[in-house]
Subunit: 106 residues, 2 copies
Amino acid sequence: MIAQTPQPPYYAVIFTSIRTAVDNGYGQTADRMVELAAQQPGFLVVESARNEIGITVSYWVSLEAIQHWRQHAEHTLAREQGRREWYYAFKTRICKVERDYLFENQ
Amino acid sequence: MIAQTPQPPYYAVIFTSIRTAVDNGYGQTADRMVELAAQQPGFLVVESARNEIGITVSYWVSLEAIQHWRQHAEHTLAREQGRREWYYAFKTRICKVERDYLFENQ
């Protein structure tokens, strides 16, 4: 269902990307990054969708938690391989979630 | 390509949704909302992807621009039909984009 997050404020990393045709372990690494992110302090949840572009949003308790994950060695290696092989382009946006609204059909 | 946005700060609305099987004009209305949003003051750009869940992120210059669009009459009607027919659940998150990073393969 819809990813559950606490009351704002919390933080979001919006990762928008355009893939190359290269596989070379992409799926495995993407799964591993989700698994590894989930083990980091301050991680909340992640959600993804892809058609022409991919949008992955991960949610975190603080900017410090995002910075810590950014510096993780295995994540850094994956990002470098991403630049070399998997992506034509990507943009990472670091955001503070100020308000949110949930709708669930009863 | 990747949606272009100005130097931060700017604002993002992350709309995460789970669709019902009901069509009833969904695609037309979704296209119309993108067209209409693009005409609003303070609109920057929008990007979307959908698999099991849909993620649409629209970018805006200010919270006031987001609030203005939220109150637009045709948008309000579309949101009400969305609640009745098109979505099991959705979550809207209003965010301030504090930093961003672009990668483009040369």
